[in-house]
Symmetry: C2
Subunit: 354 residues, 2 copies
């Protein structure tokens, strides 16, 4: 069976992740059937992705809450006893424990975790491109079947993600720090906003918005993630609580305040650039345009004419005014070239920022 | 003097805020002179904005750290004894206290706080449009000279900002909650990242990036802001510390975890939309394009042809792939219209998200 290829996949769970996997696989030419405990959700998900009835799939994706894993495995293993299985849960130690109860599956179950998600869930929010360019973590046992692993790698590749192998313990420690800790912090900062006068809230700037964005996430999803990873998360929360205490005690001492803020800046600098790996360095070109149809198109036509590639773009409106500020992220040389060109033909271009 | 107009402004302090005010005023036709305790910074700032020597200004902007306010006022009041003064510091109770030492100034000093900034400081980061569409808070005393207030409102209007009057106490309480608390939280979460293995950091997603973005801020600026507002900030930090303790105690109880995360979502929902005032609701239209020059221009030409106004835009690249995902924020009706049109002419349009 070592040359088995992925042709048929069964996905159990039609939430954001399961349905997004389904969408991506169907676009990649794979036959997919979506299964859900709720018949209406199952029907909707199959309609959304173009799902079909699938007999004898090579791979079963378990995309439901980890708490239901044992029950679902028991049923699925009877239906497809020789199949490869993966889950996509956010905490892997818990999954390893649950799978231990099924020795027949030990060499054909590969715990995985795609590092992608959104603040909103459900099949309706699914995107075929959800995993494009993201990391997809595998925590395989040492004796995993080579063929099972190959099938999983093929699935990850079809979805445009990059496979990364970690031990389950390292995975759970890593996500506790880079995902679960910031989630708890964002939620608790946002909680402090309750009962704030409306006129104060209207002063909120981008800092508050960014710091609390993920506080909009679903509590049913997060209660399970936090609970499953509580062992790894607990010490991190205690450390944060201790540092808050240090800050409270430092309030009368500006130098101590500065050293805590500086430590934060040092930690922040360790986060790699947006595409993973090393940070890419862009130049930023601010342009003030009329806030009406046609202006952005005209700018991008000039970009195309100058063979300039726009890496990213931000738009800020000025309410009550008929202008908007757009900021293009470009390579240094493209920024210089485009800036000179746009100025020469009369656009309101501001100095390049690096 | 009640009909005095703003024609000449002296700005003391050539950092990000002072220089940005200078740039904006010069663009608005005002003669501006930048002053700095460092002669080289002063010279650079005047070169950047097109500053000129200004005699008998109507208004002096004090844009240096609040801790130096008394010393600078003493000097400036001798130079321009009949002038109107404002400061732009982030904490206003402290400013009121310092200005009380100058009774001659009491009716001509108006404490203000423009709600704008960037993670990076200095004259080189200044932007004439920094205040466009932002709130600019005034905390005037009851007996402020009407003419002084009119000059300040003219300055705010010239810079494209919206004036908002608050008491100094309300201002300091509001910014403690919506600005200084998130800053401390972001810095302390980012501090926890120190000594994290590089391969774990490479798994960082947008959640961690957003939650810690403002942790990149300057510690010299923030030590002064936090220290000046420590009275208002202290209780908020204690509340956050207490809620962290509640979360730590709740780790064995999924329902308690869920209620804390849900409270965060409720608090987050109180933040108004990006333009201030009530949140504007957009539809989001995802489109997969080839990642090469010309594609964005073509999309925006279609927008213009359909009379569709793009409110915001996000670009996500897929590294190692020749495609990019752009997501347009549009009104509901524009999204429907554009989606049908783009699909009909062959673009890879994904379902609208609300």
């Amino acid at each position: 069976m070592s040359s088995e290829k992925l042709t048929k996949v069964r996905i159990v769970g039609s939430g954001l992740i399961g349905t997004s996997i389904g969408l991506g696989l169907v676009q990649g030419g794979i036959a997919v059937e979506m299964i859900d405990s709720d018949p209406r959700s199952q029907s909707l998900a199959n309609d959304l992705i173009g799902g079909v009835g699938v007999a004898a799939p090579e791979l079963v994706v378990l995309a439901m809450p980890t708490s239901q894993l044992a029950v679902v495995i028991k049923r699925e293993i009877d239906l497809n006893p020789h199949c490869t299985f993966i889950d996509v849960g956010s905490v892997k130690g818990e999954v390893e424990l649950q799978v231990k109860a099924f020795p027949a599956l030990s060499r054909r179950f590969l715990p995985t975790h795609p590092m992608a998600g959104r603040e909103i869930g459900g099949a309706g929010s699914a995107r075929a491109d959800l995993f494009q360019g993201r990391s997809w973590i595998l925590t395989p046992s040492e004796d995993i079947e080579p063929n099972s692993k190959a099938l999983v790698l093929e699935l990850i590749s079809l979805l445009g993600a990059t496979p990364i192998e970690l031990s389950a313990v390292d995975h759970d420690r890593a996500v506790a720090k880079i995902s679960h800790l910031p989630q708890v912090a964002a939620s608790l900062v946002a909680k402090q906003l309750i009962d704030t006068p409306t006129e104060w809230m209207e002063l909120a700037g981008q800092g508050l918005r960014d710091t609390t964005r993920i506080a909009g996430s679903d509590e049913l999803l997060w209660k399970e993630i936090i609970f499953s990873n509580r062992t790894e998360l607990q010490q991190l929360l205690i450390n944060l609580q201790r540092d808050l205490g240090v800050m409270i005690d430092a309030l009368e001492d500006p130098e101590k305040i500065a050293s805590l803020i500086a430590a934060g800046r040092a930690g922040r600098a360790l986060i790699p650039g947006k595409h993973g790996g090393k940070a890419r360095e862009y130049s930023f070109l601010p342009i003030v345009i009329d806030d009406k149809p046609g202006q952005l198109g005209a700018i991008f036509n000039e970009c195309a004419a100058m063979d300039v590639n726009v890496e990213d773009l931000n738009i800020e409106h000025s309410p009550g005014q008929l202008s908007a500020l757009i900021t293009l992220a470009l390579s240094h040389s493209d920024a210089e070239k485009l800036s000179s060109h746009l100025i020469s033909i009369g656009w309101n271009v501001h100095p390049i920022r690096k």
